[in-house]
Symmetry: C2
Subunit: 344 residues, 2 copies
């Protein structure tokens, strides 16, 4: 063991609740109650305690609070990849909202694997987080419901009803419908679709939106135009290469996310096809890089940072025992420079 030598010269001597109590001439219980707003306290004692806290510079020890009170003022956040341009924005929203309320997020990455996600939840639980925010992921609905039996849960990316659980669902289908319709309105009929990870609910809904828009416009869905992807830039490159190899004719591409759209743009560039002159391109999510792509990418805005904030606020509400009602913003298309009217 490395002995904690504690040359307390720099760090402030730890001041405890007991010291505050003594200085204020009250019992520790009273100080605790004032801190937690747990009971009504006479004004005199309250000011005495407030003053003692201020002059002593007392900061409650969350570790002790956690042990004694069963609340750690931390909430677990199960993300899929902490370094994702997409989830990053959500984490930022969560960090801000939670921090403002004195809660700390504990981030873990599940890497899109249900078993890893379960392990993360175990760790988070052993850390005694007060609640759990799950950013999409592959866990089953019932697994989530079961977690919610012992821990408040907020989950994004699905519609799920359960006690002690709030779900925030963004309308991916509608977003994808808008994206596809935009291309149709520009005169495109041969619109390729690059799909996302097959089992992923977002991917499924986005493909539905694509089909919906085509059908509504009376355009037959040509299976040859639908190619699989994996939500990565590289998979976007491969998808376009496949389309090109097969000599499928298309004048536009709708990719199920921006990362794949960016990959598609590169593959088109390599093939000597210009965006939007030869091929119009639409993505989904509106990640930070899309605005600075060459050309700037037309895409569906996914308010992921806001969703992170909403998720955090919903969690705070659950923890306060309030009913959390959340309204997720509707998707909207951002038309930039990667799309153009056919033949224009």
């Amino acid at each position: 063991m490395n002995r904690p030598t504690r040359s307390r010269s720099a760090a402030p001597a730890k001041v405890t609740l007991e010291m505050v109590a003594e200085r204020a001439g009250v019992s520790p219980s009273t100080v605790s109650r004032i801190l937690n707003g747990t009971a009504v306290v006479s004004p005199e004692k309250r000011t005495a305690v407030d003053e003692a806290i201020a002059t002593l510079g007392f900061v409650p020890n969350p570790v002790a609070r956690g042990l004694a009170g069963g609340r750690t003022f931390s909430v677990g956040v199960l993300t899929q990849a902490i370094d994702s341009p997409f989830y990053g924005a959500a984490l930022r929203g969560i960090e801000g909202a939670l921090g403002a309320a004195g809660y700390s997020p504990l981030f873990m990455s599940g890497h899109w694997q249900a078993d890893e996600e379960s392990r993360c939840i175990d760790v988070l639980r052993s850390r005694r987080v007060d609640g759990l925010i799950v950013l999409t992921g592959r866990l089953s609905d019932s697994a989530l419901r079961s977690v919610a039996r012992s821990l408040p849960v907020v989950v994004t990316g699905r519609r799920l009803k359960a006690t002690n659980l709030v779900s925030l669902d963004f309308d991916h289908r509608e977003g994808a419908r808008q994206a596809t319709q935009h291309l149709i309105e520009l005169g495109h009929r041969r619109i390729a679709f690059i799909g996302g990870v097959a089992e992923h609910p977002d991917a499924v809904e986005r493909e539905q939106g694509y089909r919906l828009a085509l059908e509504a416009a009376g355009v037959r869905v040509d299976p040859a135009l639908v190619v699989p992807g994996a939500f990565t830039e590289h998979s976007g490159v491969l998808a376009v290469e496949r389309l090109l190899e097969r000599r499928v004719r298309f004048t536009a591409i709708f990719a199920a996310n921006d990362q794949m759209a960016l990959g598609a743009a590169l593959a088109l560039y390599r093939a000597g096809k210009r965006v939007p002159d030869d091929v119009s391109l639409v993505g989904f999510d509106d990640v930070a890089g899309s605005l600075y792509a060459v050309p700037p990418l037309t895409t569906v805005h996914n308010p992921i940072q806001e969703i992170g904030e909403l998720a955090a606020r919903a969690m705070l509400a659950l923890l306060a025992g309030e009913k959390a009602r959340v309204e997720v913003p509707a998707p909207r298309l951002i038309v930039r420079e990667s799309t153009r009217a056919l033949g224009a």
Copy 2:
């Protein structure tokens, strides 16, 4: 207070160290010592305890460990922006290395402001983290030294000697020198430089590298070619616009980071200048998006995920009371498609 109703139907009943002790027929002290490897224990007791732990499914409560032992098995990570494409990779490296050792990272974003960074450190400290990893930032060396007097510190982006502190410094100057020299070797002489945040050490070093390479080649540094930036895509756009407005002649641009290079690429595109046909472009960092830019960006690889891992390992070493010796990889240029020989 929201009463913890504890319908423990789903969650496993909490099993404590005491229960393990009882089942194994030893004292809690012994169980604790086995868990921590704190003392030599007879083989029989050890197996008895191991078995009890296994059958009971005991998981030590880190909160209690934190209170009693003064160690929380968590380390604070002061990043500047959790949603940064750049820091994201470092966080991933940290998460992996720490997690493998049973430690949890506590991430906070300082947003490039010394006062916010200080506040983050206060919060992290109040959370009783066992150590602190600081990813660059604006804190003064002495502030960091002072923190290190009471908490092990690992800091990236500077060279700093102090007890209880390890610094990992990447050679930005050399990287920038290589980038600039690459352009020189391609025949470029009129090489613009887009700088980073002025007070930022990385920015300073990268500019030094630029100047060094030019001087070594006997090329005069034309002040008109050096424009300020702020490490954001938008600032890259502005920088090129400024260059263009001033009618400064240049055949290549070296941007102090990839994000600015990407912004520069967009501004050039808007101005009808093609990369690399009309202007060669080099960035710095090799963030994920650079590989999929159109055209793929030539840049200096910054092994930021690896640096995150190294930082975490150094922290683990400090916590174990070992001497941490770390070797940061040298920078290396990645030539892609945004640079071309002058006149070719």
